[in-house]
Symmetry: C2
Subunit: 402 residues, 2 copies
């Protein structure tokens, strides 16, 4: 294998969309134009399905104007997929890559995506075919290892925070109990972001439940009702992946559908929130104004709400992956390192594919309070600079008339 490698590049997107995943795509494509080693720039439509089905487009045929507009467009412009290829399909993908004479392969996605890149790069080594394989990180779940945080997360966190700010004032003006279900199957990173909604004099969200800290339904109802008795209202953030102490999802046994990776389908349904509402109602036993919202796909694709830092870093992970590949790294992933917090500064670094593939990362213990129903100030300090300033809001002083 030579350090200098000349040939075609192909890039794809995989997994759940984010509002900045196209910035990584366009960041990589624009950077590739700076390197004469890269002779053609192809895009696979709907991830590796595009290779298997010969749905490959020529990204050099797109104008700069189109690319720049696509960069600011939510979701995956190349189309995404959740297809985990079988060993036979991996061999077939490789046959196709070799036939096309592809020498640079970039795959934007989460840990499942990194695993696919990892498997394909192993086949390359077996076949002694000279090709560079890079994973470019992306996930609103923020659960990739090695990196300080994942592109896509801060923008989703901003959406969640703004949503909870609104819900907080809404719940304050029409008191009752409100349970909001937030995305995040394995880890509580996105649910934890609800804590950013606490502003001047506003205490909600009062409780934050995440998969890392299982809870019995009894305790959940007790804690929610205790807040309600104390404050006359309660705003609660619940992760869709919340578990009971036996390790089972709250709704396990009640959900029929599984996604293509064999996981239970959690998003795109209001079932968990509705179920929790019923439990709390039963536990209260009297008339109670209680509602639930499932924040839904807007968390990952709402147009127009994004973190500036996230947008910048998403571009840079695409760009730097191309630079690492061209400069001689044969396979790997890129990560974000936080250099300083005030002012926030970061840089993009290299890591091994094997360290990112398949595994996930939970919220560390110092980010979770002792009771397991809230986050700590350490977490706020971690998240705040990534999300950036939120628009101000506030309450009246409310001086009673004598």
């Amino acid at each position: 294998m030579s350090v200098k490698l000349k040939g075609k590049m192909i890039i794809g997107q995989s997994g759940g969309p984010t509002v900045v995943i196209n910035r990584s795509l366009v960041g990589a494509v624009i950077e590739s134009l700076n390197h004469k080693e890269i002779t053609e720039v192809y895009g696979m439509l709907n991830g590796i399905d595009g290779i298997l089905k010969d749905n490959i487009i020529d990204l050099k045929k797109e104008t700069k104007k189109t690319l720049m507009r696509v960069a600011d467009t939510p979701a995956a412009a190349l189309g995404s997929c959740r297809h985990k290829p079988s060993p036979e399909e991996c061999e077939l993908i490789f046959d196709k890559l070799q036939k096309l004479d592809i020498r640079y392969f970039f795959y934007i996605g989460g840990n499942d995506t990194a695993e696919t890149a990892h498997i394909l790069s192993s086949i390359a080594m077996e076949r002694k075919y000279d090709i560079r394989f890079f994973h470019i990180p992306k996930t609103i779940d923020n659960d990739l290892r090695e990196t300080d945080h994942c592109p896509g997360y801060a923008s989703a966190a901003k959406y969640v925070a703004l949503s909870f700010i609104g819900n907080n004032f809404d719940n304050y003006s029409l008191p009752g109990i409100k349970i909001d279900v937030v995305m995040g199957r394995n880890a509580g990173w996105l649910t934890a972001a609800a804590a950013l909604a606490r502003m001047e004099g506003m205490d909600g969200p009062h409780l934050i439940y995440i998969p890392e800290k299982p809870v019995t339904l009894n305790r959940f109802c007790e804690e929610v009702l205790s807040v309600y008795e104390n404050y006359g209202r309660a705003l609660v953030a619940v992760s869709e992946g919340l578990k009971t102490p036996d390790g089972k999802l709250i709704l396990e046994g009640q959900i029929k559908e599984q996604d293509s990776h064999g996981n239970l389908q959690l998003s795109g349904s209001g079932m968990l929130g509705d179920f929790l509402v019923e439990q709390v109602k039963k536990a209260w036993g009297k008339k109670l104004r209680i509602r639930s919202d499932t924040l839904g796909y807007a968390q990952r694709s709402f147009h127009g709400v994004r973190s500036m830092i996230d947008a910048e870093e998403a571009w840079n992970v695409g760009k730097e992956a191309v630079r690492y590949a061209v400069s001689g790294k044969e396979r790997g992933s890129v990560i974000i390192e936080r250099i300083s917090n005030k002012p926030y500064k970061s840089k993009i670094s290299f890591t091994e594919l094997s360290k990112v593939a398949k595994v996930t990362r939970d919220l560390p213990l110092n980010f979770i309070n002792e009771k397991g129903n809230d986050v700590t100030s350490d977490f706020i300090e971690y998240l705040k600079p990534l999300v950036g300033e939120l628009p101000p809001a506030g309450l009246l002083k409310r001086v009673p008339v004598k």
Copy 2:
């Protein structure tokens, strides 16, 4: 009754929140400071409940800085209520108003709120008590009569449009069927706003179902699946108030809870979306990726997304209500008149309380397509200037590699 009337003013907020309802409050309060006829400025906490329970605050004790921040804060800063007072309570409210020597009464809300103001103003006439009663319009439902549109609507419409833009690109990148349930019990105004999501080359939302056009479950499933067969995907907007041709809500009989006005509880639950998903799945009979989101309270209180025109008009309806009252109008409501569309210009005018109280306004026929499953270009022309520019987004050209 004299034209000039000197005395105290009280103001309250009622019904579901919006992101600009506090602008009407602060617009009225700031204007009141310009009129020496208004001696004190009180706020009722949680609408008329604040009068009944003696929870009244002194708004002159709030700093300008606090007021200006509150103006930009979602939901009702005075607290809201959904309480429709009984005849006995109306008399009691009046006893309290007279004891406080209140001469100006402003109530911000929808048609139920206008009705309360209307009833109270009738009692004033019976008692021959000199007091000015004004309703200040507010509702994301946009279903008040007389006015061109309602403060709060355009910002909620903007949220819905941005949500559907995201969902459209999300659905394009991971194809399947997506059903999004939008607020609006009686009228389809807010659901119709999903049509603004159609941008350059994007066709979704493909279908828009509103309460004005009932549909059988069979036809609903057929139309959704027909889009799916033609486009390989389908994005569908459904009003929470959608009815079957017998005039019943889709979920009627399945929902237990009623709100305090005797209406079925629709919001704060994912039930309708989940139910429709099951119906379409059954009708298809094969494996199908189909999801639903219920857009939820974010539609009325998401922080940071609002229409500039809406923010301005919400301020002005508060301000002008005070001016009408001080200048001698004894009771009424204010409305927005559209003077021109390009460029958009409007003015605030006066109308009778009786014309706004209780009644609602449906989407007119020229805003609905013939099949009853979409809006017309007339509607887009009506809504677009109110919402203002949306951030651009776009697709790749996708030129295949030979």
